[in-house]
Amino acid sequence: MRFAVVQFGGSNCDRDVCHVLRDICGISTDLVWYKERLTQPYDAIVIPGGFSYGDYLRAGAIAARTPIMSDILAHANDGRLVLGICNGAQIGAECGLIPGIFTVNAYPKFICEWTYLRVENTTSPFTTAYRRGEVIRIPVAHKEGRYVAPPETLEKLERKNRIAFRFCDPYGVCTPESNPNGSARNITGLLSEQDNVLVMMPHPERAAEAVLGSDDGKKVFDSMIGSIEAGRVPSAEQVRT
């Protein structure tokens, strides 16, 4: 099994995700510089957090228009896994991997803090290791993380069980006070139509080791690895043959 972590100019969580995948989860992982494109099939691709192109224009807008994105879209179209974290989520929204956008926080400043999330979907390849309704603790760090989408899109996401995570209080109740950026319906993690793309603003790689305050985020990576091992999603090997 082999993961790729895409590095854009300005990515700054690339090495963090790589550390978690390699050293904590024991998965072979390549850091791929965006200009080099994807030169081999991967089982999963992570678009990490950071400030691709300095967030100039809009967060994620320029990275979403780089040539490597067509490789990533082709990978996703095969049904293989793509995880977009923070800036990766913004890029995912900018290139239409999921509907809606992430825009400037309701209080328009950067927020870095621990948040509680309620796990809403436990059937996707990214969330099978969680219990439904489980309350997990993962930090956020962003200025443009408020999820916005038209009401009919939100309804469809709810109906199709495509909401993975919502901000909540420590008891799992989704309140305005527990929604740090003002996201629509507290949504901060959502899945593509085929369930093989997850974008999320919180940083699971920052909560993958107990010594850092929480290992709740590790289950996102564990779920991905488990789903690939179980053959629930197409692997790089299947694409090759």
Binding site: G9, D55, A141, V211, L212
Partner: protein, 690 residues
């Protein structure tokens, strides 16, 4: 401008008139900012060596051994004047500058700290400066992915016209392969890469070394640089990739005095000949003075063998960074610049770099302490005034704007010090000083600033490794100020010697005076300290833990927060005895106590409000002294069994539990419901959050 005295000295030495570029070079390189003309002799009294110091002061950053395979690169810089004129860009480029100092050692930056000093938040302009300085630091640090893990906030009228923005950056590097900023070999090429050069920030070094005049904002705006953190992030990755090739002979970032400063200081081990026409520019029609002195940000200069120029250039191009091969290292100890075929500068390099004559200023002691007059008002009202003071109140409005988790090393940022994991150990960081106390007692106050940072480290079980500093003062032309600077540096050195902790770097920011407000800043010898400790599992304090106060309380009201809110006066704290640091470290490292904090601003009351907001406390003696005095050398400890404290000068003052902070003293009882404490400590957030 170069003073008439310097100019005639130079023309006498060179036996000719100076060219416009030469004049500009001296104007900048002979400024206090670059040459320490007023403070150089004093700085030599500081202890700078130690078994862990691999490279002491004088380079871009110092190198200190952390473990067998990890060394730290550490530097500290101020960006005060630019941050008043343009707070957002001034603060942002302050971060950029110190980060480049660290990457030019071949080190990856892993942590930032930023001590900040502003005028009172009651004034709108100060709130504006505060908001935009924090935004500038946040936007820059967040974008380049270096966590801000510690800071300090002081609000005092003396900073209304001169806010101070100091930044510490710490990086990690292999102890055997770090780079330096001293050229190694004549014949090497000097390669400039990074952002192109424009007319921005012309003459910043000399700008930083004079008073801000009344209409400073308008006339100095072109002196403030504008930062581009995206380019800085590319510069970090490109420089580390270049360093990994082993092909870089030496490396220097372009900061104060631009290309002239970097290239002359870097080349002063030999000499250099540069062609200004080869510099990649972003504007047309720039003359040689503008090209050499512009302080355009995000630029680096490296020395490489001629055969390796292309390898370095290719790495720059991978990161979309333009580059140019602008000259060579020469055997002859001269600094020569050509432009369009003409020689526009030709100086003995030792005259330009390090040749500035020292300034000698007269000094006069002063006495600013007032006798203590007990403040009027109820203890309860005084307590809320102290807890609501923004020096004491919670800092989370600031902290949440900084990404403090990126690079996933951060173990804790909430206690007395920032704690990061590094290898198998913890890197522990603290910064700051107490200007109101230092104003009253420059020697003891500065010694206490060093002590206090070591105490913060001790609360995380860590021992100090080194100190960096920013010496922010008013103008040394005033004899009282020069005395203040001298006392302060002596106090710093004496405490550093007591702690056997070397002072490995820093900078000097003088002339912090405002015509507009007719003020001088309080002396602000801001300290950055890093240390090493064990990785600990944070303890929790449950109900029923004993609260003990270690150390003796005296009537140290002068310069306290109580003094700031009431003007009560009194003596500033005496110089602390560092004897308690080792036992406190041992208690923490051994896991024998549940929690500890050192007593500083706001005294025992602030420590209780922070660490034990639900507790019953009993105090003997004068409650004003017990609650508000800021005697140094005291710790508040929560533990299960007082036997662990035996041998220490402690007394049990209460126990945790209940719903309120209840303080009984001889004549009465104070009850602070938890909500009231939370409200008082939330002042800054309420003031700033719209």
């Amino acid at each position: 401008m170069v003073s008439a005295r310097d100019r005639s000295y130079l023309e006498h030495e060179l036996k000719r008139e100076l060219t416009p570029l030469e004049l500009a070079c001296f104007d900048n390189l002979w400024s206090e900012h670059c040459s320490y003309r007023s403070t150089g002799a004093l700085l030599k009294t500081l202890p700078t060596t130690g078994e862990n110091v691999l490279l002491g002061p004088g380079d871009d950053a110092a190198i200190v051994r952390f473990s067998d395979d990890i060394a730290l690169a550490i530097g500290m810089e101020s960006h005060n004047h630019p941050s008043y004129v343009d707070p957002y860009d001034g603060a942002a480029t302050g971060v950029g500058g110190i980060v480049r100092d660290v990457i030019s050692m071949g080190a990856r930056p892993v942590a930032l700290m930023d001590p900040l000093y502003f005028g009172p938040l009651s004034q709108e302009k100060n709130r504006y400066l505060f908001e935009h300085v924090v935004a500038g630091i946040g936007d820059y640090g967040n974008c380049i992915g270096v966590p801000v893990v510690r800071g300090e906030l002081v609000f005092d009228e003396s900073y209304a016209g001169n806010p101070l923005v100091n930044v510490v950056c710490v990086g990690v590097v292999n102890p055997d392969t770090f780079l330096t900023a001293r050229v190694k070999k004549p014949g090497s090429r000097l390669v400039l890469y990074g952002a192109s050069t424009g007319r921005d920030g012309l003459g910043g070094a000399s700008f930083a070394s004079r008073d801000l005049s009344e209409d400073a904002e308008a006339e100095d705006r072109p002196c403030v640089q504008v930062g581009d953190p995206y380019t800085e992030k590319l510069l970090i990755e490109a420089t580390l990739e270049m360093a990994a090739t082993g092909k870089i002979l030496s490396c220097r970032d372009l900061g104060a005095a631009g290309l002239a400063g970097a290239s002359s200081e870097m080349s002063s081990t030999f000499g250099a000949c540069l062609d200004a026409s080869r510099v990649h520019l972003r504007e047309t029609g720039m003359n040689e003075v503008e090209i050499l002195l512009a302080e355009s940000q995000e630029r680096m200069l490296v020395e490489v063998a001629p055969a390796d120029v292309q390898i370095i250039g290719d790495i720059a191009e991978k990161y979309d960074l333009p580059w140019s091969d602008i000259g060579e290292v020469t055997e002859e100890r001269r600094y020569v610049i050509t432009f369009g075929g003409r020689t526009v500068c030709d100086l003995p390099i030792d005259l330009l770099v390090g040749g500035a004559p020292c300034e000698v200023w007269p000094k006069t002691p002063y006495h600013a302490e007032k006798p203590y007059a007990p403040p009027s008002g109820s203890i309860r009202d005084l307590a809320f005034a102290v807890l609501s003071h923004p020096d004491v109140a919670r800092k989370d409005w600031v902290a949440r704007q900084y990404d403090h988790h990126v690079q996933i090393r951060t173990l804790s940022v909430g206690g007395d010090a920032g704690v990061l994991r590094l290898g198998n150990d913890a890197l522990v960081l603290s910064c700051g000083c107490n200007p109101r106390q230092i104003y009253l007692a420059p020697y003891a106050g500065t010694a206490n600033a060093v002590y206090e940072n070591a105490a913060n480290l001790a609360c995380a079980g860590a021992e100090p490794l080194c100190i960096v500093n920013c010496l922010n003062f008013a103008s040394p032309v005033h004899p009282e100020i020069f005395w203040q600077i001298e006392q302060s540096v002596l106090g710093m050195g004496d405490m550093a010697r007591q702690l056997t902790t070397p002072v490995v770097g820093g900078n000097v920011s003088l002339y912090n005076e405002s015509d507009e407000f007719e003020t001088q800043i309080k002396p602000t010898p801001s300290i950055g300290m890093v240390g090493k400790g064990p990785v600990l599992t944070p303890g929790t304090v449950g109900d029923g833990a004993l609260l003990a106060l270690i150390g003796k309380t005296t009537d140290a009201f002068g310069g306290s927060v109580l003094d700031a809110v009431t003007g009560c006066g009194g003596h500033a704290p005496a110089m602390a005895d560092p004897g308690l640091l080792a036992p406190v470290r041992a208690l923490v490292a051994g896991g024998r106590i549940d929690a500890v904090t050192d007593l500083s601003r706001g005294g025992l009351l602030a420590a209780l409000a922070r660490c034990a907001p639900a507790a019953s406390v009993h105090l003997d003696g004068n409650p004003l002294r017990e609650l508000f005095a800021e005697t140094e050398g005291r710790f508040l400890v929560a533990c299960q069994d007082e036997a662990v404290l035996s041998g220490l000068p402690y007394r049990v003052i209460g126990e945790t539990g209940g719903d309120t902070l209840s303080i009984r003293y001889t004549e009465g009882i104070l009850e602070f419901p938890r909500g009231d404490i939370t409200h008082a400590l939330g002042t800054t957030t309420r003031l700033m959050r719209y």
